[in-house]
Amino acid sequence: MTEKKTMATIYIMGKAYKVPSTLTIMKAIEYAGYRFIRGCGCRGGFCGACTTFYRVKNDYKLNVDLACQKIIEDGMYIVQLPFIPAEKPIWDLNKMKPTTDEVISVFPEITRCLSCNVCTAACPQDIEVMRAIQALRRGDLEKTVDLTFDCIACGACSIRCPAEITHYQVFQLARRAYGKYVMPKAKHVEERIKEIESGKFDEEIQRLMETSVDNLKGIYEKREIEPE
């Protein structure tokens, strides 16, 4: 059932290499002989380190994707953008309110949004980036947070944005403010902490620590499993 290896030509910053056609961009770059220091992180689509811009032959369109998740195409021109040139503004959440006005005061440039939607088109996570920015402008913090939860901060949107917004930073502040102030604190967590601090479980754990391994095995096997 083994399939024969077919090869494809890719252009890494303009330089041609022949590589197996089924590889991801990341593996193709390595196959070509490069060793990553930057531009490679989790290799699983979670960290946003391997943002890569590319064009394919006979197409004017500029594309962007994660090198670790995108399969190469024959005739692909690629360049990585492992860092988005932007300073992270410093904020003290303890002194902020969870309002969209507060977020806008840190990032006033979001009011320059042209609704061109290029950010959305650029997002490898298929996040509705422009809608999330517009929701902020409308005062809907919750919508912004919900739409952007899957953001991995690769920054592709921010490189393409004509209004020069650094969306991933805006969304990070929005989510933290929402998580800290709007989401309810779990009372059962609070109560359990009090019980633990009062030493409620100490004796029982101590007993388990002191009993023989055979006894412990017995207790373990007899423990009740909570049904689905």
Partner: protein
């Protein structure tokens, strides 16, 4: 050979087996395969778990754990020459002089930095050294969740039992106790940072089962739990102005004439310069060894998981434990080839998906502890020959993901497993309609540097937290206890290191231990051109292609 015909993401020949899975689905929705007894667990592990393959290990020839069995890949690193010679580095020129040096900027390192800062160490007296970018780590990839026994029907006592049973009663009991007793305060701290754990319609945390849990205590944030926690930690570290050196590795620890740890020699990976960092307390939070590809297994781990910290700690005499205990996550991607070895979160089983063989039959309880579950999948594929072969010659079993939406309502996968759904969609596989093919993948370093309840190693001035450490999980970690581990012991390491730094006095910096180690290697008759730590894995050329797994 002609190109394989692909039907909705899968080679056409796999469709027959998928139909078999569909046929048995309705019946399986009503029945779950029984749990194994402890004896059955023991037997399947001995027969099928890769750790029990004698030829995969050897006794290490030098150092504090001389004679202990370790995987060849780990022994190779311990029996390797240091990257630097003492004469290469001018120790009289100190580039960084700090109270606390933190080596490794993942979950444990950032947690330690924040708690050292909360404990009164000024930000500018802390330094985080990170080989990739801040936050690039296994921590950010963790999908499923974090365990904390905070529901009324649960207790830290039950969590303790699960931790011990999962580790086959080989755990360091004091570490296991600390883990379960500090779990709730970590959840609370995360809430205060702004971590958005999933809630029911009120303030109650959504919690589900994981492998080996007796209560539903897995807290998650969709299936981006690691990402959500790490980005909060990272943002907070940056807001506190804690100094960070990215793309910089530690290549050797430093000691003073009293043999206490006194910082590290750092290496700027981009400019290839060395720096001397002097510190009163040094914390190792370098993570695990997935990228060593033990026994040629693919891995879920991030690019930098090359066991550097283990090598550094061992050279200065820190004792290690349980390094022969490798965690193979039961469900790594077996198809498509491009993402082989990546994680299929345990949350998929937590939400009800069953592992089934090529005939659509269940063969194991869906949530045994990880090593047991992985062994059952290996047995099904290789002894019973009931696996599905992929075009690259790998074998795997189905994880019947469409069950999730049937059990919990349409849209559950989209809502609770967006990362998984997205990952498969990229390869035209719709996991809400079709099952996904899985096989065990190298996931976690169960053992590591020995620490006590205060995150102190066996060497003065050296602390450690997270995956680099051993003991907490014994020989097998349960799902949801790794985020908890790095949070609990990262916090403790930060607090202890801050306390230690107040009174520590560092004398004259030396690299004498490097000379001693070289002498030990020579006396043990080790002749090699290997150097360690390796800092990054080697994937250039053919090495990047899928690994041919030789299981039996």
């Amino acid at each position: 050979m002609s190109k394989l015909k692909i039907v909705r993401g899968y080679p056409e020949y796999m469709r027959e087996s998928i139909e078999a899975v569909e046929k048995t689905r309705e019946k399986r929705l009503k029945e779950t395969f029984p749990l194994m007894s402890l004896e059955e667990r023991d037997e399947i592990l001995r027969k099928f778990h890769p750790d029990y393959k004698e030829e995969a290990k050897r006794p290490v020839k030098v150092g504090p754990n001389k004679g202990d069995l370790m995987p060849h890949e780990v022994a190779d690193l311990l029996e390797a020459h240091p990257l630097i010679k003492p004469k290469d580095v001018d120790l009289s020129k100190v580039d960084f002089n700090v109270d606390i040096l933190i080596i490794g900027g993942g979950g444990a390192g950032m947690t330690a930095a924040l708690w050292a800062n909360y404990s009164g160490v000024d930000a500018e007296n802390i330094l985080i050294v990170q080989k990739l970018r801040l936050g690039d780590s296994n921590s950010i990839m963790s999908q499923g969740g974090i365990q904390a026994a905070d529901k009324p029907n649960d207790s830290p006592v039950l969590h303790y039992l699960d931790v011990m049973g999962g580790g086959h009663f080989t755990n360091d009991q004091k570490l296991a106790r600390r883990l379960v007793l500090d779990a709730s305060l970590i959840i609370k701290w995360h809430e205060e940072l702004g971590v958005m754990y999933d809630r029911e319609s009120d303030d109650t945390m959504v919690t589900i089962h994981g492998g080996g849990t007796c209560r539903k205590r897995m807290h998650s944030a969709r299936d981006y739990t690691g990402l959500e926690i790490v980005r909060n930690l990272k943002d907070e570290v940056l807001n506190k102005n804690i100094p960070i050196l990215e793309f910089t590795s530690a290549v050797e620890l430093l000691t003073d004439e009293h043999k206490q740890i006194a910082g590290a020699v750092l290496y700027n990976m981009e400019t290839q310069e060395y720096y001397v960092a002097k510190a009163k307390s040094t914390i190792l939070t370098t993570g695990g060894f997935g990228r060593l590809h033990i026994q040629e297994f693919p891995t879920t781990n991030h690019y930098g998981a090359t066991a550097d910290g283990i090598v550094l700690a061992y050279r200065v005499g820190a004792k290690l434990r349980d390094l022969e205990a490798v965690q193979y996550h039961p469900t790594g991607v077996a198809y498509p080839e491009q993402i082989v070895g990546l994680l299929v979160t345990e949350k998929v089983r937590g939400l009800g998906a069953q592992p089934v063989n090529r005939n659509g039959e269940q063969f194991v309880y869906p949530r045994e502890p990880r090593d047991v579950e992985a062994s059952a999948i290996i047995r099904e594929c290789y002894e019973r020959n009931n696996g599905v072969e992929t075009p690259t010659g790998m074998k795997g079993v189905w994880l019947d993901s469409p069950m999730i939406d049937i059990l919990h309502g349409e849209g559950t996968i989209a809502k609770k497993l967006p990362a998984m759904l997205r990952q498969y969609k990229r390869f035209d596989i719709d996991m809400t309609q079709d099952p996904i093919l899985v096989f065990p993948t190298l996931h976690f370093q169960n053992g590591g540097v020995i620490i006590n309840e205060n995150a102190e190693t066996t060497v003065q001035g050296l602390f450690a937290a997270g995956e680099i450490t051993g003991g907490t999980h014994g020989k097998n970690r349960l799902m949801g206890n790794s985020i908890l581990d790095y949070s609990v012991f990262g916090r403790i390491a930060g607090i202890t290191a801050a306390k230690h730094a107040k009174n520590a006095k560092i004398g004259k910096l030396t690299l004498d231990h490097v000379t001693r180690y070289e002498k030990m290697l020579k006396e043990a008759g080790i002749e090699t051109d290997r150097n360690a730590p390796i800092l990054l894995p080697e994937y250039r050329g053919e090495k990047v292609l899928s690994r041919a797994l030789d299981i039996f």
